[in-house]
Amino acid sequence: MKLLDRYNRISLLVTVLVIIITGIVYYFTISYILTYQVDKDLMVEENEIFEEIKLNHRLPQVFKSEDLKINFQSVGQDSVQRRFLDTQYWDDKDHEEESGRGLISSVSLNGVNYRITIIESKVETEDLIRMIFFITLGIILILVVVLTLINRLVIRNLWRPFYLMLRQIKLFNVTDHSSINKLDTRIEEFKEMNEEVSAMSLRVRRDYEELKNFVENASHELMTPLAVINSKLDTLAQDHEITNKQGTLIGELYNSVSKMKKLNKSMLLLSRLENRLIQEQELLNLKQKVLEATGDFQELLTAKKLKMHTHLHDAQITMNKDLLDVLLNNLLGNAIRHNHPEGEIEVKLNPGVLTIANTGRPEELKSDLIFQRFHKSPESDGTGLGLTLAREICESSGYRLSYAYVNNKHTFTINF
């Protein structure tokens, strides 16, 4: 539930409750006051009757009145309790029962007790109370409407900076160069939050960039000592007195240096890709490129007695030329390396889709794992970055690389 809705619900509920309670209090108060007023009228009337009796020593003539009825009744020697009461009033004009207020009193005349009943119509009072009720109801309605409108317009407007900020936070990506902008708001809380979030985004991005730079610098710095080791090995290999055992050792050293070099280059390329440093793109003839790449691997295919089937249609792709080379080399290299002797490789190119499928270990790979950094099969001697790099290259160019195990073939598909 949104804060706004929740707030609206609570505030409306409370408002309506308060208004209803107010209405009830109003009703009773006004009712009381009015009844008191009517009672006073009744008492005035009673006094007039007493005075009349005192003056004339007989019961007064009762006139028909609009909203007052007086009645005398002889009760003999019985005493009558003086009291006010709510009762009915028969309206002669409208011919209907109305609520009324009565006063029962007594007077003694010539030794006979008379009960005096004075009833006054309360219809006006009721009208008044009804009016008050409707006004209260009206106020409730108006308040609900006004509050809803205020919430819709004013509060929504007030919260706008919050939603703007939220959208920015949602869009914030540490790898691209967007940052969370300062918002122009006069509301203290939002201002403070915005400043903090904005500062935090800058901090996060700076940390991330420092880390990226560290990876890049570290990889760079490693290149020079690697170059020295490599050149020393090249020099050492020229020695005429190297025994077979030493030769094997040197060969192994070469392999390790070579692997480290590849690892380093892959890491550098990855960090450059993630930093979006490789921008240059061009429209390339993909068929031509695939032909070149497969041609390059011809000797390796023969050495491993692999069969390569190619079904290539004309297709063009927009991306960086060097990255495309790395991508194709990676995927084709994998298809050869992870193949078994006399296996098959199938390369299909149609506009928008390139698939490279190869036989190999007869077992589906976990597609969520193979693209992870440094994930590799136990028997693989690679860097573990090849597929990560391939996917990153595709993604940075706006394409998709996916894996599936189809017809006993490990199939990599690029949708472009």
């Binding site: 020295v228 090249d234 020099t235 077979n244 070099k261 590849k262 450059r272 023969t302 290299g333």
Partner: protein
């Protein structure tokens, strides 16, 4: 062949010097920017191997100085930076080639030889090694005037061997030269063996002597 190596890393500088120094070659080395500027303004070289990142200056400035003075020296840039921008910038400024660190000395030598050959044998595109003759233009090989049909890769392999004659070349260097280092094939060198076997067989079938020797565990050597 007279070379100048401008490289601040002593280990690498000496490695290059040792690899290139042999009968008929002079290889001079300098370790910093000022010395390099002095050298290039006084002496002429067939090829200058130039590191871009130097302690007191940028190698690209040295390259510009060479080009401004219209010195004919070939320039090969070596740099730890593999950024595409750097490479283009170096080549735009007139460098003949660009090699990313770390590299195999055999690769450096093949590149230097190619530059020197382009610079010095204008028109003459023949490389002769005893009875073997390579035509750089037609990319064809003859042994005692008998044509040998080599594939593109086999031709590249032979050229690489001849540029590094008398040197042991590691299998890694051969693989990277022929297939680039983008591919990860270090666990499978059988293909190099079969590849070399093919070249050797084709040459010997045409009447060449067997020049390719195996250096146990390390690689191969092409020599008399």
């Amino acid at each position: 062949m007279k070379l100048l190596v401008v490289e601040d890393e002593a280990g690498l500088r000496d490695g290059i010097r040792d690899y290139f120094t042999e009968a008929g070659n002079i290889c001079e080395t300098v370790g910093d920017y000022q010395d390099a500027l002095q050298k290039i303004n006084v002496y002429r070289y067939d090829c200058i191997i130039l590191d871009i990142t130097l302690p007191q200056g940028n190698g690209l400035d040295i390259l510009q100085a060479i080009k401004r003075s219209r010195y004919p020296d070939g320039v090969l840039i070596i740099s730890a930076k593999n950024s595409l921008d750097d490479r283009l910038q170096g080549l735009d400024l007139g460098a003949d080639d660009y090699l990313t660190k770390p590299f195999h000395l055999s690769e450096l030598r093949a590149r230097v030889m190619a530059i020197v050959r382009r610079k010095s044998f204008d028109g003459n595109q023949l490389i002769v090694f005893n009875e073997i003759q390579l035509d750089m233009l037609a990319k064809s090989v003859t042994v005692n005037d008998l044509a040998v049909k080599l594939t593109k890769k086999e031709y590249a392999l032979l050229l690489y061997f001849i540029a590094n004659k008398g040197k042991v070349i590691s299998k890694n260097a051969l693989a990277e030269h022929l297939w680039g280092d983008g591919i990860d094939l270090s666990d499978n060198f059988d293909f190099i063996y079969s590849h070399i076997k093919n070249v050797r067989k084709k040459l010997m079938d045409a009447g060449s002597k067997d020049y390719i020797q195996s250096a146990y565990g390390m690689g191969y050597k092409f020599s008399e």
